[in-house]
Structure formats: C-alpha cells, structure tokens
Symmetry: D2
Subunit: 177 residues, 4 copies
C-alpha cells in the first residue's frame, strides 16, 4: 500500500525543513512540501497581530486564536484533497497542542495512508541552532522541544541532535512504501 502523505512533527529549529528537502532529493517520486510555514506565510499580516490570529511573543511563546484555527482546519482539508487527487505530499508541522493536533489531522486525512514521523531534537541543541539561524524569535525552540510530542503516536521517530538531516531522511525513506 502506497504512502500518500508524510507528516513530520517537531518543535521550531528541530530541523524539519532540512529533512524535508533531503527527502525530496532521495525519494524517487516528486513530493511537494507544504507545512505550517506555508500556511503562516499565506495569512494576512493583520492575523498576526490580532486576538483571533497567531501571536509570536517576545519570549518564544506562540498563541493561536480561533480565526487562525478555522483557517488551519480548512488548510488541512485542502492538503487531504490534494493527496486524494493523486499528489504525494510531505507536510512539516508544529503540533502546538500535541495529541490534540494529531487527532484533528488524523480525522481530516481519513482514508489516506499516512506516515507519521516525530522529529526530535534536544531542547538546548535546538536553542543553539535557533541562534545560528538568526531568523526566529529566541525561545521558540526550547519552549516547543517537548510539548509538541506530548501524546503523539508515530510510525517512526528521528533525532537530529546527533544525526544529519540527510541521515534522517534516508531512515524515513525506507518506511515510505
């Protein structure tokens, strides 16, 4: 049975995007990559400064309001429809609500063959990489390192603390059928 969607879940600066690009390079089929960043970039600037939208606090905390949630739900339906229409899609996400985030995606992706992948990274190491990147609010990496995995069930997990993105991608690729 063919894998239709790969979902990568991990905290900020855990190395998801790098793994996604390596996956796109090692998998024989062309897999478009979508994710939380795609959705956030698509949002109007106004939603990033309002009560109902998404807020990035100076300490790295991220708060998501009802208006953002509603659009996110529709977005996940869109990704599911894209996969049902025949595209194989790799999605990288930050499950801010842990098991609850997974449950919502599980429901929307119903009937599709999904590979659930946890991307772990030691919080202190991720915090250092956050400084090295220079384009993220300090504190997000540490704040999200553990919480996004709470109660989430995976088909496999990779850990970027000591493994390169390419190594992780090759490990995942073996599970793509």
């Amino acid at each position: 049975m063919t894998t239709q969607v790969i979902v990568l879940n991990g905290g900020s600066s855990s190395g998801k995007s790098g793994i996604v690009r390596c996956l796109q390079a090692v998998l024989p089929d062309p897999w478009p990559a979508l994710g939380t960043d795609t959705l956030v970039d698509a949002m109007p600037a106004s939603l990033q400064a309002s009560d109902g939208g998404i807020e990035f606090a100076a300490d790295g905390g991220v708060t998501v309001g009802p208006a953002f949630r509603t659009l996110e739900a529709a977005w996940i339906e869109g990704v599911a429809a894209m996969a049902r229409a025949g595209a194989r899609v790799v999605v990288d996400e930050v499950f801010l609500s842990g098991a609850d985030s997974q449950r919502r995606r599980h429901k929307a992706l119903g009937g599709l063959r999904v590979l659930w992948v946890g991307v772990r990274c030691d919080g202190a190491v991720a915090a250092g990489r956050e400084v090295a990147r220079g384009d993220r609010i300090a504190g997000m990496a540490a704040a999200q390192a553990e919480v996004v995995h709470r109660g989430v069930v995976y088909d496999l997990e990779v850990d970027t603390t000591r493994s390169e993105a390419m190594e992780c991608a090759r490990t995942i690729a073996v599970h793509v059928t």
Copy 2:
C-alpha cells in the same frame, strides 16, 4: 452570494502579489493567499531541472512538463477543498496556457463563487519593474504580458501600468460580496 475565491491572473512582474497583500489589508475577513509561487516553492528542486518538471529558460521562457501539470491539478483540487471547507482564499496565478488554464481551474472550482480578475500591465513597464525587483529571470515579464490573458474571461480587470497596487485592490474589493 458570498465570494469564496478570488483568482488573480497576470504575467510575471505585473504586480499581482502587491495587489494580494493590499487586498488582505482592505478586506474585513482574513483571506489566506496562495498561488503559483507557493506551488513552485513547494516543488522538489529536482522537478525544476527535469524534462517533466518546470523549466525557466535564460530568455525568460517557462516550460511546464507533465509531472508538474499533474501536481498542479492536484494543487487546484486542494485549493478548492480549502474554500469548500469554509476558508475564503485569494489565489494569484500565471495562466501560461491562457483560456485553457482557466478552463482547468473553472472545472476544479465548480460550485464555488469565484471572482475572476485580470491583472494587466504594459509589457515594457513590467519589464522595467522586473529589472527593479532583481529576483526574476529577465524576459519573463515581456514574454507573459499578453499571452496569459488570451481567451480568458474576467469579472473585472485592473491595470497596474498607471494605478497603484492599493488602488487596484480597492477596485477589486468593491466586487467582493
């Protein structure tokens, strides 16, 4: 009857993205913005250098192969599903095949209330703006200025040759119901 999708079609450097951001600012609801650039960015690097993918020639010509077309079709289904799930979506596109591109979208967006907007810009002016942007292959603006509108039917058209993005956005916003 409520507008569910706004489709903006225009050549490269005609000013679509600027209009989209102004639309997001002037429309009262939050409209996520997706488009050709989102899809191209999502594609694996390999698809940008293969026979079946998308190729950007040195003279500004763009060729799209069957592998890209297949994923694009699935992508449009995804956008339609997102709108059907309740999100109002603004999409900016480059109809490389003119009327044929519209026909494909028309079919996928069936049953949704779509506002079709043509974004015109004089080819020579767009070519100058292409140089000013500095991030596009020279020649795309001139090559696409006319051809993307061939046979396409619009609800309204705006022209950025002498109108600011904000002005065009306000004109469009009046037609959003």
Copy 3:
C-alpha cells in the same frame, strides 16, 4: 571628472532599491550597491533590541542609539575607502537626521566626487506601497517621507510617485560622468 559615489537618499518604500538595481543595469561599469539595509543586516540581533542600538517601533518610528551611530560612522569610512581604492559605489540611505546625516557623510566622503540624489515619493503613495511589499513595519513610509529630505542639498531629485524606477535610473545615469 568621474563620479565615484552615488548617494540616494529617501524614505522607506520610496523606491530606492528598485532604482539602484535599474542603475546597475543601465550604467556601463559594474557598481556595487551598499546601503542602510546592508548595515542593518550586518548588525548583531542584540543591537536591534537594546538601548544603544536601532529600534523599530510598532508605529513605524525608528530610533538610533549611540552604539549604532558609532558603527554607522565606521561603516561610512569603509564605503569611502572602498571608493578611494577604485570601486564606483552606489549607496542608498535613509537620512533620519536630514541635513545632519548628509553633513556626516559629506565629511567622510571628502575628496571623492559624489552625486547626491534625492528620491522623493508622496507619503500616501509610499504608505500604500509599504502595504503592497508586506515586509516593512506599517508607518515607516509615512513617517519618513518628508523628514529625511529636511535641509539636504541634492545634485538632482527624482520622484517615484508617477515615474517608474527605470525612468528615474535613466535620469540619474545622465548625471553620472
């Protein structure tokens, strides 16, 4: 006598960067482009959140502290040395202190043949373009439109309110000797 440095001064979203890229395209020699953005990007993140650094307020106001000023002064000396070493350099700047900003540059660029260019743009139009760009803090364009020109003396001025970047570049190029 050969022009060694072109200094463009104008408010945020007045269209300086676009003119610079068009200038680079129309001038026969290769002119490296440096400017305020280059310096701000080079600064440590810490200097963008400290008392002595540079602060971008939510209302578009920009405050520059002594630590930033000191590094900026050294930066201008660097640009002057680059020009004295034989490179022809185009610089785009935001003279937050108007005539005072020019006086400091005038002193550092002593002995060099400088073409001083004012880049004007109607404040309301620039504010609209700021929304269309989507990558600047709202309010900077309006706040800076007039104040950066206060008491500044130019060799020529261009106005992007109704002229394209390429047109402005051609006008400036005529004055480059």
Copy 4:
C-alpha cells in the same frame, strides 16, 4: 591587545554564517558581520553573467574574473578602513585561491589585530547540508571543502562535522581578546 577583525574561512555549507550569528550573540561587544555573501549580493546582476564577473557553474564550480577581483580588492580595503575607524568586524569568507586569498587579505588588513579562523567540515557532510539548505547550487560544498584551506595559516580551527555552531563560537570567543 584587542582583536579588531575575526576572519572565518571555510567552504560553502561548512557552517560559517551560523557560527557568525552565534559569535555575535556571545561576544559582549556588537560585531557587525560582513563577508563574501554581502559582496556578491552587492554586485550588479550583469557581473554574475559576464566573462569578468563571478560565475556559478551547474556542477558547483565558481569562477571569478578580473572585474570581480578588482571590486573585491576595494571591498577588503573598505572592511579594513571600517576596522581602523573603530568597528570590530567579523568577516566570513571563501578563500577560493587558498593561501593566495589570505595573502591579499593579510596585506589589506596590515596593522590590524586579526584572528584567523579555519572552519572545517567533512566534504560529504557539507554536501548533505547543502541539500538540506536547498538554496545553493549542488556541488559547491564538495568542491570547496578542502581547496579553500590549502596553505592557509590559522590562529585556530573549528570543525562543524561533529560540533554545533554555538560550540564553535564559544571556542572562538575564548581567543578574542
């Protein structure tokens, strides 16, 4: 005696930029960061497609012509003048000509207290990170990994193959006086 300039030399995707941002975070003074990327970005587009400019071949090879060399020499004079004017500057470079590149910088930086740092990374690991970044031409990392260090003399060397950017930055910071 106070360190005035830190020069980091390493191949593409060896992790220089990450180390620079960590250095800016851990060093108590504000150190502006300049480097090869700053200069390449400042260059006119025309110089990236001409015989005398800089060419990035499809296989990752980089060729630098006389026009680029001339401007680069002036650029180094500019960095030196900036340091002499009192700014402490961290520079990240790719010594395409190895010892010869260092000799030219050594001459321009005469009289300044420079800390020369080699940034090593195993070629295969750097090649994997190049894929993970997704914004570099494939092959540059492997092509440059060894050659940029040929004959270059360092005050200290760090290796990102198994060390995080933050760790490398802390090691370097100890040598900054």
